[in-house]
Amino acid sequence: MALTDTERRGTGLAPVPRRPVTRRRQFTGRTALTLFLFMVPAIAFVGMFTYYPLANGISMAFRNYNLNDLSDTSWVGLKNFSTLLHDEMFRGTVKNSVIWVAGSLIPQFLIGFTMALWLRRKFRFRGTYQALVFFPWAVSGFLIGILFRWMFNGEFGVVNDLLMKTHLISTPVPWLADAKYAMFAVIIANVWYGVTFFAIMILAALQSVPEELYEASAIDGAGKVRTLFSITIPAIRTTLALTVLLRVIWIFNSPELIFGMTGGGPANETHIVTSYMIQVTQEGDYGRASAMGVMVVFVLMLFAVFYLLSIRPRKAMR
């Protein structure tokens, strides 16, 4: 809602009413039937092509289900899970996932926050500026991966060229061929891709902070840093927390960029759990792939619950 209101404030349109104009009323017979029919297609589609395969996928996690040998699809309990936990490669992808999420999230957050603070004050062409930096959002992670694969190319890549021209490096770096650098390069690309999302969400939140708070803090003689930590951050804490939560889940679940940029290589050094899961799916071992999926959902849910619990008490304190 925040963005809607503030954007309208700028254009001189009437503000959107705070309370949605929903009528809570009874409806019977014909109306009820019509409304039911309105809902049926949406529910049917999502049920058939999302929830049914999902339930089936979860059941596969506990079965021996390999497309290359469907003669025995019996229930095997937790076997798929224990196979994975003993799989060196899987354990490597867990470690990589943590590096990938933390390494992408922290810079995205810091740069996005800074951009949002810079964009808070109105200036000429702010709208155009926002539209321009918003562009990466229209491009799929997979294509971003291809773009950066070309830029980080060891021989003809523009990144090496620029770094050598500015004398930051003296010889070309084989970014994507060397395990030492590959994860770093992939993370750089992902930071580039995700900064805008943070900037937009935080900007929307910033614009809902009442101006009086800033006036009061200015009268009290608070400096910039003090204002940031005592006024701005507490006021938008909830949005910050939710944005971070959604981003962690999203980054974890988005292996497209990795697919486009390195395909998980070199030597699986950039494979994260979800990209490995897709590879295993494509190889046909649905049981093992599903077990990975179940673990991903389980861990993310646990994370979400703990995370939400940990930010709650502070919210109550203010």
Binding site: P41, F134, F135, A138, I278
Partner: protein, 278 residues
């Protein structure tokens, strides 16, 4: 107004914003420039930041060496039809979810939102099996059905946000004048909400246009592949032809960027209104 920056602070701020813009635009500029270089110049050293020999050779090569026109056509058909169906279906659902209270409303909204949290490709394997049973593997209409289903949840949430900005008295007046609910919806509400509906359609279209894993899994013959799946094929081949690849990348990015430029404002509005509501 927020406190005034000092002149130095202001210069620093605009320098920072300028740098961010430069970094955002550069990769897109670079792939564009690469796509217009002579195949020889792409691998020439030193790198050319502004080519002297603009050429369409890469585009020509792309269309001659692959079925790229077919891939583009498939992507257009699949994305357009899926986005249109998903928008209409979501519009009906969003109307009900925005205007009425009923017992299972929370459950429906919850079920839609949860689909955004879990990795959709957990279901990739079993979806493939389902589609095999329906004889819809390697079939563009099969992919369309799946894309419709994938697009509905978020589109519904977005449209619901737009509906809540329109007073209910509008369609009630139309119904008093004798319109049925459906015709009130399409004759009165839809015209008022055109920008939001267009943005939702574009959002769906761009998402379908960009989708990779479902397309790779469900489509295997060359005549049915969409653009992302075809690009994935180019990557898997041992040596990437970077000239054709950049031409293909540009062709697949430009349409979505143009559409997005028109609708991004409403898309952000719809997403924040629908999702960040108390």
């Amino acid at each position: 107004m927020i406190r005034d920056y000092s002149t130095g602070g202001r210069i620093a701020r605009f320098a920072g914003l300028g740098l961010c813009l430069l970094i955002t635009i550069f990769p897109l500029y670079w792939i564009l420039v690469t796509s217009f270089k002579e195949p020889g110049t792409i691998f020439a050293y030193p790198l050319k930041y502004w080519p002297s020999d603009w050429s369409l050779a890469n585009y020509q090569g792309l269309f001659e060496q692959s079925n790229f026109a077919v891939f583009l056509g498939n992507s257009l058909l699949v994305s357009f039809v899926a986005a249109a169906f998903a928008t209409v279906i979501s519009l009906l659902a969003a109307y009900v979810l925005a205007r009425f209270e009923f017992v299972s409303k929370g459950a429906v909204m919850g079920a839609f939102l949860v689909t955004q949290m879990i990795p959709g490709f957990i279901a990739l394997g079993s979806l493939y099996i389902l589609m095999t049973k329906l004889y819809l593997v390697d079939n563009r209409w099969g992919l369309i059905l799946v894309y419709v289903a994938v697009s509905i949840p978020l589109c519904t949430v977005m449209l619901r946000g737009f509906f809540e900005n329109v007073p209910a008295s509008l369609e009630e007046a139309a119904m008093v004048d004798g319109c049925s609910r459906l015709s009130a919806l399409f004759r009165v509400l839809v015209p008022v909400m055109t920008p939001g509906i267009a943005a939702s359609f574009i959002f769906n279209f761009v998402n379908c246009w960009n989708e990779l894993f479902l397309s790779v899994t469900l489509m295997n013959s060359d005549s049915n592949k969409t653009v992302p799946a075809a690009l994935n094929g180019f990557i898997s081949s041992y040596n990437i032809d970077w000239g054709s690849m950049s031409a293909a990348a540009v062709l697949s990015i430009v349409p979505t960027m143009v559409l997005f430029a028109f609708a991004s404002r409403y898309i952000v509005e719809g997403l924040t209104a629908g999702a960040v509501k108390e």
